[in-house]
Symmetry: C2
Subunit: 477 residues, 2 copies
């Protein structure tokens, strides 16, 4: 009689095949077109319209994975993926997450798996040390860290905690009744606007502060706006400074912004989604100067730190504010440990209740690479970006748009917006590389984001040659 389960011994067999499947994938990853070439609806059309009534052999699932799913994959892990921002991973991370899936614990509170909570606390204290973050972000001080799914959710968490503090912890009860106003730069990631909307503040109450020629927020204009708003009877409550904006990797002046926040009593959230990882290297830490003035700070190991999606780190300076904002204790979750006050119940630190064992993959990565191994890769990516910058500067047809702070190169062909878009599409359609664009000062800008796990200088060099050749053909044609 069947009970439909895979037995442990079948799991050993199928699981090892999947491990080989993944290893094979990485061995041949460069043979795939980086950007999937399928048309809308094509993948769905290849999948049966109706669900299977009876279970199917595992090999059929894998066959369909190869034949029906793989053509619709855009290969983020390809060394020739330079689009958007990195979302890199590594074998240790994949295995750490596999252990998490295997254990299948749900760590919503300490009691439901103490190790899930305590490893997370420990590893985030490690990370704070690895990045020389301020004492107050550590669990041993007034603050602490929690793993969130994404920077977007962290932004929402920060906005809501700030909203609560600004309203003397009334907004959770009464709703948003005050004229709260928040400040970001014109370059801040869209997740902040989304958070302001979701939290019931309203996008009309979000001010976009103008930036300087490096696309960094102008603190003088921030201060002016705050003062004007106060005069008009608004209540400024929240500022987001970005270390490494999405478009051009601009660095907001955190210290100056932080001083204004202290003076004006605003919550300072720092979004270092991608570039935060660079703080592993002492030589890049000047970019976070002033971070001890922040109330919260978020960065994504799932972007540039070899930890697979999702994994966002969110630190707060004062955990009590966070916990009073998000905690709820229904009877069915009451337990001795929670009542003792000696433990963290992480569901009180964020939006969700349930949570998997989130820290395992981060722990695997830190232990496997060590601080040294992580620094090695970050430095390599930055160096490649510097070399790419040199090549652009050495060419006659292309120009740099801004000096790269780290691993993102913003450049353009001199022949104008339409040409740049056509050039980008032409290169992407070859399948040999994938990069994307943005707009800065109203102009199309091409972006080479260098941060995938297996990207070496030779890949970037080849892509640069391809870009040049394609542009050459287009200008001739």
């Amino acid at each position: 009689m069947t009970n439909y389960h895979l037995t442990p011994s079948q799991f050993r067999e199928e699981g090892k095949k999947i491990i080989d499947w993944i290893a094979d994938y990485y061995e041949k990853i460069e043979s795939y077109p980086v950007l999937s070439q399928v048309k809308p609806g094509e993948i769905k059309a290849g999948l049966p319209e109706n669900p299977p009534q009876k279970g199917e052999p595992f090999e059929h699932i894998i066959r369909d994975l190869d034949e029906k799913i793989m053509p619709g994959i855009t290969h983020w892990q390809s060394p020739n993926f330079y689009a958007y921002f990195p979302s890199n991973t590594s074998f240790p991370s994949i295995l750490g997450d596999l252990v998490s899936s295997g254990l299948g614990v749900q760590g919503m509170i300490w009691a439901t798996s103490p190790a899930a909570t305590e490893l997370e606390t420990r590893v985030l204290d490690w990370l704070a040390e690895m990045m020389d973050m301020p004492e107050k972000f550590r669990s041993t001080s007034t603050g602490g860290g929690v793993i969130q799914d994404t920077a977007s959710t962290s932004a929402l968490t920060a906005v809501i905690a700030a909203r609560e503090r600004a309203t003397k912890f009334r907004s959770n009860k009464t709703g948003v009744r005050e004229m709260l106003v928040a400040y970001v730069s014109s370059q801040t990631h869209s997740s902040l606007e989304k958070a302001i909307k979701m939290a019931g503040i309203g996008s009309e109450n979000l001010r976009l502060v103008e930036v300087d020629e490096q696309f960094s927020m102008r603190p003088d204009l921030l201060h002016e706006l705050i003062r004007e708003d106060k005069k008009k009877g608004f209540h400024p409550f929240f500022v987001c400074a970005t270390i490494g904006t999405t478009s051009s990797n601009a660095i907001d002046p955190v210290r100056k912004i932080g001083e204004i926040c202290k003076e004006e009593n605003c919550w300072l959230h720092v979004d270092a989604a991608m570039s935060g990882t660079a703080m592993l290297c002492p030589e890049f830490r000047y970019l976070k100067d002033g971070v001890e003035l922040a109330d919260s700070y978020s960065f994504n190991p799932h972007k540039w730190m070899f930890v697979n999606f999702d994994c966002n780190v969110f630190w707060v300076a004062n955990r009590e504010e966070l916990i009073s904002t998000f905690s709820i204790l229904p009877e069915y979750l009451r337990n001795k440990a929670t009542e003792s006050g000696e433990v963290f119940d992480y569901r009180d630190w964020h939006v969700q209740l349930g949570r998997r064992f989130r820290s395992l993959k981060l722990w695997f990565v830190i232990r496997h690479y060590g601080v040294e191994g992580l620094q090695f890769h970050i430095r390599k990516h930055v160096e490649i970006a510097q070399n790419f910058t040199r090549w652009v500067k050495d060419s006659n047809e292309f120009e740099m748009v801004v000096e790269p702070a780290l691993n993102l190169v913003c450049f353009r062909h001199k022949a104008g917006d339409d040409f740049n878009m056509a050039l980008m599409n032409a290169v992407n359609e070859t399948g040999k590389a994938f990069f994307t664009h943005t707009k800065l000062n109203g102009q199309v800008v091409l972006r080479m984001s260098i941060g995938q796990t297996y990207t070496e200088e030779e890949h970037v060099k080849q892509t640069w040659n391809l870009i040049q050749k394609t542009a050459g053909r287009m200008t001739q044609g």
Copy 2:
């Protein structure tokens, strides 16, 4: 020269060891104490205070996993785990999620991996068919499904979309300016209150409707409250009905509540977090009678459908309302497919921007088990719960609190609250089983939640014997 990475061939080796480690774990899972016996701080104290400067061999990580982490695990996957609610998994799910980690794609929009979007759409349409959900929840009609992380996030998503619709899509712009009021029952999960707070509505504007003796929401009282609120100038906008409350698995009368929502122009969200899975079986579908009146519906395959955490299914009747609420299109994400309107960009369906390839594990589970295999297990769990109920009824010392609708048995010893709490703690401390309590009508109630993957009748029988024996010893002592 090292580049610190595991090579693909090292990954093959270490990966296969982890697969064996997981298989071994399931083979010996019954030898662990179900509820971790560690004290607060014990696990953390076993982990080094400082991060490793140099990377460490993989076997050291696994050794520490065994020695330092495992004692702090509460074994959710044990067949003797009856606490809270199930959060089960299965080998096919673990492998589906492994493929997702291996591919490492970030499917925030269609273009960033078309297969990630289109498989999700297809599989959620399958599920709608498998559960005989209304036509309007399907992508081929006006609605569609999206995989969220948790039921909590789905609740927040529903509240915000409802808030937008009720304010004629102004609240995202202006903030919450109207006197919006929401309704849940006194038994509704705390995530709804949390959502109402986060969305800027305020818990003062959340009404708790009283329940009947089955702990189901009383629609007559709901209607009364709505009418009173309207008279007072409030704007009722949102109702949550639960199919299977957390405490006692009560079923709210969805049809009656839905009719009131239509009449009073409220958004109806249905939270079927655990019990939603039962809709795979035709004989349990009467529990969702009236669901075609809902605007949104959420359930957790990560609870009772053998899909590992996290995986929540969120269906809406009108996807346009959802998308107008959550969409944001920064320049750097503009692309032809999005502009064509032919594709779904799932980041517009929820809070987060980034998302992993969420549907793979769900696809693996459905294909491996087929509808038939899933039905088999759901029916078995319900049958075990019925047998447990019979045993309780046959005993002199224990009594049932409510008739179980599905797989959750609420019972108590007749000797009073303190005795029940002491009994529960005594059994849990043996490590042989883990179950939890709640309060109903102010009284302590013990809960046997039967839904873990490997729970068979013999496990539950043994636990029942243990409970009886322990109680016997306690009454003698």
